[in-house]
Symmetry: D2
Subunit: 108 residues, 4 copies
């Protein structure tokens, strides 16, 4: 599945359930925010080192995959209803970040 | 640019700045949460109807694209350091949602 | 119960469970963020008008009170472990806001 | 200043600026979410140990106090427009938590 496939599946999903009226950018931003809150909560009591091994725990792994998926679903849907190409926006942002944060000099 | 290209650009970006030690899942989840907060703030005083036309305002459009990009950057990086395939996780989640929320009957 | 009483109850609660080592500002900020995500989710599909009547629904009322409480608990605990007086900080912020956003002229 | 004083100052502040129509629970939940995102961002690259000493840095201290204040302002305003007594809700929640998480046995 590509990101374009995901956009289409989410359009079909909303249409088949008459959910389109609820999918305003304001509402979707709130839904995205709620899912990121659930994702953050999974890491809140872990040390940074423990968080790097979080997928070793099968239940925690399932929960993390579930929340990462939810975040991508709402982010993709939000960008789609706004008419924004997410990958173009991300590419342009990395270009700006490369100017803003110059890389370390390489030793040679 | 595909999502795979984005993953690679973010790896190169972090490596060139020695930022990898900071990119624990715990820290990246917090960074994601902060960016989603900034995105949500852009819509907070708009009505749902106004939010649907947010891109008509050039400054607001630039801010929204910037924040959507940041959210995708941190989400992609977080999934990558965890070793999670985001699109696979999203596809599996839609499959589960299709069982959980049956579509409306079609008239025919 | 005053806010000072709440601070003390939270100290006693953490001490009686040996939770103090987990209550770093970083972890508590994440916990706060997670609870605010849950609170936001309760309003995500409501119109602004419906949100103003949310407490008319007994189940939604119970959920909202529960999440508002959780947000205050973590905010209070976070301020306490940092050594910040929340009400002083809030008072100073309103003072700044009064300069930043002048009131409308009164008609007289 | 008590929490009751804060509630009154926020009422007066909104009234003097004709901001009351914007202060729906939905909008205020989003504003709260945005401020918590900014607060979380202040801790995102710190280790838990560094976060415990965050107030030693004067600029970071000022930023943290500012964001903690903003979170309390929006939380207080949100509870007020809903008609919820925050301290009562928090007290009831701690009562429930005391049953849900029994304290450790004391050695004697």
């Amino acid at each position: 599945m590509t990101l374009d496939d995901l956009i289409q599946r989410l359009r079909d999903f909303a249409a088949a359930r008459d959910w389109e009226p609820f999918h305003t950018p304001k509402n979707l931003a709130m839904a995205l925010s709620g899912e990121v809150g659930e994702l953050t909560a999974l890491f809140q009591w872990l040390t940074p080192e423990e968080s790097a091994k979080a997928l070793d725990d099968p239940q925690l792994k399932a929960d993390i995959l579930d929340e990462l998926a939810d975040v991508l679903l709402y982010l993709t849907r939000l960008a789609d209803v706004l008419g924004v190409d997410l990958l173009d926006a991300a590419s342009a942002k990395i270009d700006r970040n490369e100017l803003r944060f110059p890389p370390l000099p390489t030793a040679d």
